[in-house]
């Protein structure tokens, strides 16, 4: 093994992490590393030695294989048999390295690589950008080869804090790999990539680093019929990684209930599973000014003569938008006059929705669809809406419900899970069975015709002041890193 100054520094770092005797001048650090590994060839030390020497976060097989090699052949032989570190080239090192000792690393690989603003990405951005700006955590994504985390590029950092212009350019600057020793590795998003879960799982199982995460939902397990096939297929590997975690902050009591059910199953694989606590999400609504009201009005083609009914959310099957279209058509045929608008991105499984919308438009019904709308349009639209409708089949939290209430707009939503929790906490909500069309039709008809009820619900909604993202970010950080 060729010992460069940079490698020497890493080895010293590792020995210090192990509280190994300080390096004496008469023995090299690598010899001390061999001695330490031979003396205590634990799986934790195997993980840490592999990560530091190879600059690759090891898999379970890597860790067992290396520990067995040390015990059978001695540390020196085992280390010599390792492939070169990933940052090595005949020209010199190809990447910088930072070892984070007893710090907090937050893995936002997916969030910084998508422009989408799903609930999950919103939560990851609102939390990790705050932790990063306060110097509490180092946000990371993964290297091109998917072998180790690295610091974010300037562009990715901008995307995390919402300052991105959305233009991505190719980035050929050398990267800085991140190797955690001790401390906490936080997963604030859904990690669906099999290669990532393979290595995260080994952090949880072996490293002295504590693995923790935000738990959004187990929809691919409990509402599989509404999950896109690639997500449903990969979700078990995410759960496997989380099965080695120490703590999961579920985003609602309903989500915590799902994760606790899953944790009970882990007994069969000899695992305890993580501690699970419910820390409900924040929801912040900027008070939209006059110009935002006007932009929303023109974007959604809002006419003032009829009540305006708003639906926020992507058109995937789980959001149940077909049921809303059906209910609206029944009510229009009954002679009720109202305007219906959907704000939300197109999603998988939305073909039928798109066809139905086109048909209803052709029949002259007042429907508008907006996708890719910014926050100002969304909050401006809530301002104009008489009420919003969110009869989702399963939600980890249901941000649009709280955002509607925070905008002073009553909501029709599902009578179970996290959506019921929000209703019980705040008021301003009408609950329906999302699988029962009649129940949704009746609720919408009531709000369109009973102005006294609508007024009273609106007054309740106007009193709602949800948790701020500042306070959620602090609360969830304290729990995940304690």
């Amino acid at each position: 093994m060729i010992i460069t100054n940079e490698l020497e520094a890493r080895i010293v770092h590792l020995l210090e992490h192990w509280d190994a005797a300080p390096v004496r001048t008469d023995s090299s650090s690598i010899e001390l590393l061999y001695t330490e590994l031979d003396r205590e060839p634990s799986l934790t030390r195997a993980w840490e030695a592999l990560a530091v020497l190879r600059l690759t976060l090891p898999t379970r097989d890597d860790v067992y294989g290396f520990a067995r090699a040390v015990k059978l052949n001695g540390a020196q032989v085992a280390v010599d048999a390792l492939p070169s570190p990933v940052n090595w080239s005949p020209f010199g090192r190809t990447a910088d390295v930072v070892i984070i000792s007893r710090g907090v690393v937050a893995d936002v690989h997916t969030t910084v690589h998508t422009k989408g603003t799903t609930g999950i990405q919103r939560v990851a951005r609102e939390t990790v950008s705050r932790w990063a700006s306060l110097g509490l955590a180092t946000p990371v994504a993964w290297s091109e080869e998917h072998l180790a985390p690295r610091l974010l590029s300037a562009e990715e950092a901008a995307s995390l804090s919402g300052r991105s212009d959305g233009e991505s350019s190719t980035n050929n600057e050398p990267i800085t790999l991140v190797i955690p020793l001790g401390g906490t590795y936080v997963i604030p998003e859904l990690t669906i990539e099999p290669w990532r879960n393979l290595r995260l799982s080994a952090i949880g199982q072996f490293a002295s680093t504590s693995l923790t995460g935000i738990g959004f939902d187990t929809v691919p397990v409990t509402s599989t019929e509404t999950a896109a096939a690639p997500i449903a297929e990969r979700f078990p590997r995410y759960l496997d990684a989380l099965g080695w975690a120490d703590r999961v902050a579920a985003i609602s009591e309903a989500a915590a209930t799902e994760y606790r059910g899953w944790r009970r199953m882990l007994v069969g694989s000899g695992r305890m599973g993580p501690e699970i606590e419910s820390i409900p999400l924040a929801a912040e609504v900027s008070q939209p000014g006059k110009s935002a009201h006007d932009r929303a009005r023109s974007a959604l083609d809002i006419k003032d003569q009829a009540p305006f009914v708003l639906v926020v959310g992507s058109h995937e099957p789980r959001k149940n938008h077909l049921a809303i279209l059906y209910a609206a058509e029944v009510l229009w045929r009954e002679g009720h006059d109202f305007q219906l608008a959907f704000i939300g991105g197109n999603a998988w499984g939305a073909e039928m929705f798109t066809r139905e919308v086109a048909r209803l438009k052709d029949s002259g019904h007042p429907i508008s669809i907006v996708s890719g709308a910014g926050d100002d349009i969304v909050f401006g639209a809530y301002y104009h809406a008489a009420f919003s409708v969110f009869p989702s089949l399963n939600e980890g939290f249901g941000l649009p419900v709280v955002e509607s209430l925070a905008s002073g707009t009553p909501v029709i939503t599902s009578a179970y899970g996290s959506m019921r929790e929000i209703a019980e906490q705040y008021g301003g909500v009408v609950l329906v069975d999302p699988r029962n069309d009649q129940s949704l039709i009746e609720a919408m008809r009531t709000l369109l015709t009973d102005s006294a009820l609508l007024e009273s619900l609106t007054r309740q909604a106007q009193k709602v002041t949800p948790k701020t993202w500042d306070s959620y970010a602090t609360e969830v950080f304290d729990y995940l890193t304690r």
Binding site: D61, Y64, G65, R68, K71, V267, G268, S269, G270
Partner: protein, 180 residues
């Protein structure tokens, strides 16, 4: 002879058993390790490589991939004990089959295998702890009184036959049919 029955896949954890066997061969213990079971996924090479290396080093380790029921029964009877340290099982037939042959089993200390073991004839171990596996394997290879006692326990068990199992299963499923 120590027998391991099960397809060669990561979950069955034969690699940990092979590692423990090598440690004990190095300590000077004399025993044969026989692995019976399907070949498993093509890309699962860790176990195959370990076995090849040990065979080249003249260790008494053999692998048989296609074994008839009669050969399997003979292997259970010939073994001093069997080892089945899977990471996760819905049941663990090789544990039950070994016990039905009167052959003690080293198996996983949780889940369904621990359930089967509660009826006697087994030594339990944490399948993720290599050194614990080495220790248990050493005990079972060297402690004749332990093996005699476990054999007696295995023979004294009152386990289901396939006849009675299938009859009970039939009664249960037709009962629920009648209810619905």
């Amino acid at each position: 002879m120590v027998l391991a029955v099960g397809s060669h896949e990561p979950r069955k954890n034969q690699i940990a058993l092979v590692y423990a066997a090598e440690q004990l061969w190095r300590e000077g213990l004399s025993f044969e390790l026989r692995l019976l079971g399907g070949r498993g996924p093509r890309n699962f090479t860790v176990l195959r490589d370990a076995i090849s290396a040990l065979q080249l080093a003249k260790r008494p380790i053999t692998v048989e991939n296609d074994v008839s029921d009669a050969e399997l029964a003979a292997a259970y009877r010939a073994a001093r004990f069997s080892a089945f340290i899977s990471l996760d099982e819905g049941y663990g037939l090789p544990v039950a089959e070994s016990l039905a042959s009167g052959t003690p089993v080293l198996t996983t200390n949780y889940g369904s295998t621990a359930e089967i073991a509660s009826g006697g004839g087994c030594v339990l171990v944490d399948p993720r702890d290599d050194e614990a596996i080495v220790d248990s394997l050493r005990r079972m290879l060297t402690d004749d009184r332990l093996i005699t006692q476990l054999r007696a326990e295995a023979l004294a068990r009152d386990d289901d036959t396939w006849d009675s199992f299938s009859q009970r299963l039939w009664e249960r499923v037709t009962l629920s049919e009648a209810r619905s």
